[in-house]
Symmetry: C2
DNA sequence: GTCTATATTTAGATAGAC
DNA sequence: GTCTATCTAAATATAGAC
């Protein structure tokens, strides 16, 4: 029986390794973490890491894949719901919300905070293409959201929408990546934010930011006319 | 004579090491680069790295400090000019421009592209505080710009301004950090951007984004009234 | 300042008993 | 599945001749 952990039971070695690796990779980055570090903090022999995962590289991939599929599913579902509710013409806020909310929700959980940081690290890494994780697991859904943004803003230049998308990624990943500096510079001005408040802020910021890029010849679409 | 390099002269060993270290640290990160990598690509003996810089850690700091002082000076000068031209009440665009332009200019030069990526990496690193580079060299001027933003937008909530600041950092660093994924997702939609165009876009995006956070009781200030 | 040679530590990975 | 013990390669750093 793999399922049915009792409350007092210690997680299986494999899971302890996964959780510890996730935390350490997120905090320090792949190359700054040794298998000895992981084994030590997970209270598992180094040999067991090889036994369960094969190699450091494969362990890293296992850490990613463990959580990525469920998150991606929820993002897809959110986008599909926004599409269905509007006959394929969703508002830009609904699209951005479906895109960002699952990430922020993960960031705001005890067990997901490190994974959020790890994703941010991976997306910002100039070398990510060599590992292929972003390209195979995140790029497909990214293209779906880009297409949805274009449907939501049919009168914007495509290049504007793409810029906004990358801006969104930038601010989304920063809110996940380095909360310490945020606290250092801004102190309690940014504490005690609920998940909802952060998502709303991100979405509102990008939505407003996009007002700069409306194509000049666009007719009013019942929205802001500036 | 240290100065007065002839055109055909090979850069001194110390400078070759610095340039190579800058590029490799930017592309792969501190821990993924060995002194052997640097020595190999710089065509310098490993022992010479120790001789010139003392240790890998000190080499890393030397790479940072080489370019940071001039950039910071230019950012300060830009802010001072914006302040002086408006009797201490600069527009938010002028403040953001002074903040971002020197970074984008560096990013867009042949010799500075790697440094821009390195800075982005450092700012997004959850572990930066341990090294203290960001805290000692970037936080002071960050606080100056935060104060200038508050002066430029006296009717905004302070927390809104701080959020916008961190958003700005996020999108600024992403445009410096991982251009490859941008190209992968958006292709030639984002090519051939001049420095001016990128700065304008960043500034316009954040300025518009900030419209979301205007304090409700603020009287119109001659700007957008929504 | 630059080189060769080497000391010392730490890394990822595996062999084989239990 | 888990352990001890160990292999091999790679890392940073230094010693000392030139």
């Amino acid at each position: 029986m793999r399922a049915g952990l009792q409350v007092t039971e210690r997680p299986a070695t494999r899971d302890r390794i996964l959780a510890t690796a996730e935390r350490l990779f997120a905090e320090r980055g792949y190359h700054a973490v040794s298998l000895r570090d992981i084994g030590g903090e997970a209270d598992a022999q180094i040999a067991l890491i090889s036994y369960h995962f094969g190699s450091k590289e494969l362990l890293y991939r296992a850490v990613f894949e463990r959580r990525l599929t469920p998150v991606t599913e929820r993002r897809r579902a959110g986008l599909a719901a926004a599409m269905a509710a509007t006959q394929g013409r969703p508002g830009i806020e609904a699209v951005l919300d479906a895109f960002a909310r699952p990430w922020i929700e993960i960031r705001d959980t005890e067990e997901g905070q490190f994974y959020a940081r790890l994703i941010a690290r991976e997306v910002n890494d100039p070398q990510e293409q060599e590992r292929g994780i972003v390209e195979s697991l995140l790029d497909p859904i990214a293209r779906d959201f880009l297409a949805a943004m274009e449907r939501a803003l049919p009168h914007h230049e495509r290049s504007e929408i793409h810029w906004a998308y990358h801006f969104f990624i930038g601010l989304l990943t920063l809110t996940m990546a380095n909360p310490r500096r945020v606290r250092r510079l801004s102190g309690d001005l940014m504490e005690e934010q609920t998940t909802d408040a952060v998502v709303s802020r991100l979405v509102a910021f990008v939505t407003n930011g996009l007002q700069a890029g409306k194509a000049p010849e666009a007719p009013s679409q019942g929205g802001r006319t500036e």
